[in-house]
Symmetry: C2
Subunit: 239 residues, 2 copies
């Protein structure tokens, strides 16, 4: 044990967040398919800011006030909203410079539970960018997987494991939790063929049924979007 090392741990779902200590000053929220991939893409492509809200009711309020509002539940666009959490929808040129309100099944809930800490947004698209930044902070880091309705899911656990692995390999961080060991191990097993490894993932099967394979392929690409979204006063902006 090197007592000067910082701690990094992986938490599998928002409901488990309270089990992890208050020492974690930075929380990295992960929802690979598709919320955090979409948020990172949006801010990189010029969306001004994203207001995450946890309920459809709040999203409706914002829409009534004239905001552009994206809403996803169970992998589908909620009826009456323009788009959901497809990263491609957030690349639309007319969104450049705009404020977008977003609610999703899992990702915005994870942001909500962590909002008293410093929240940054991670995904495979910005993996190295976020790891490099975390390595410079000298703070304890909790990687919070959004999961699927409070259960763990494979893709978020693997992405979280990738971040933990990178930080621990630097020798500036260590970990103590079995959840982190398992996530690192799953990442190392998956990294050479993420798409194949996730073939049996429940969430991917769910999305396959919705015929959004292009979104899945996009979200599984590593290091394609060098952008770190950060939550400031409840609003996600580019760091």
């Amino acid at each position: 044990m090197h007592s000067d090392r910082k701690t990094v741990e992986v938490c599998y779902s928002p409901s488990q967040f309270p089990l992890y200590g208050s020492n974690f000053e930075i929380v990295v929220v992960i929802d690979v398919l598709r919320a955090t991939s979409a948020i990172t893409t949006a801010l990189h492509k010029g969306v001004k800011e994203i207001i995450p809200v946890s309920s459809v009711e709040k999203a409706i309020e914002y829409r009534q006030r004239g905001f552009v509002v994206a809403a996803e539940r169970d992998g589908k666009v909620v009826e009456g909203f323009d788009f959901g959490n497809s990263p491609y929808a957030f690349m639309a040129p007319e969104l450049v410079g705009q404020t977008v309100v977003l609610t999703t099944t899992n990702g915005t809930k994870a942001i909500e539970v962590a909002k008293e800490r410093m929240v940054v947004i991670g995904c495979l698209n910005n993996l190295s960018t976020i790891c490099d930044w975390l390595l410079e902070q000298n703070k304890d880091v909790l990687v919070l997987a959004s999961g699927w309705k409070e259960k763990m899911n494979l893709e978020d656990t693997i992405c979280a494991g990738a971040i933990a692995d990178r930080l621990i390999e630097s020798r500036k961080f260590h970990s103590h939790e079995d959840s982190t060991i398992a996530a690192k191990f799953l990442f190392r097993s998956a990294r050479d063929n993420m798409y194949s490894f996730l073939r049996s993932s429940s969430h991917r099967r769910r999305l396959m049924q919705l015929k959004i394979q292009e979104d899945v392929k996009y979200c599984l690409m590593v290091d394609t979007v060098p952008c770190i979204p950060v939550l400031r006063d409840g609003v996600l902006v580019k760091m």
Copy 2:
């Protein structure tokens, strides 16, 4: 999908139990280090029955009424009790034919949350015995890992993954949850050298500090105790 197949899933901790459906008629409770290994050993060696209780307070009540009571918290025997959850303690000849009351940090809590279903006790020691029995039941099975204070732990997840893997390989069962896929994967990676794989496990490190390596070695032995404990009217007996 074969609709005549039964379902087997792995749940990582008692607090996640309500997230899994009411279709699971059989719950296999796992606490490899050391509660379910000790329970299985005890009933195999001739202990008549074990009354699991979830609190130390209840354990004290039983002691005052003259019962033999075992109590463990945080890996240690609770002060004032004769023994904790070491499997070796349950092999004592004077316990043959006796009723023993038991409370532990995680295992008895898992039994408590599942008690409205049919509860059986699994561990590595009785792995094949319990799998063979489950294969004959034609019922949906939830394998409930006790974990460590509501977080997942490696040894219970691996044991649960071993059971799920065996049932799914028989083609009589299938699974839909990522928690089950991950557990199966961790088991397959660990199975050839369980002791080495668990070297970094947080719980094992904790027990190492308590100098109970002999217990750990015992609990990681596969198929050494052909006995299935079952909960009947709140009491664990040999099936």
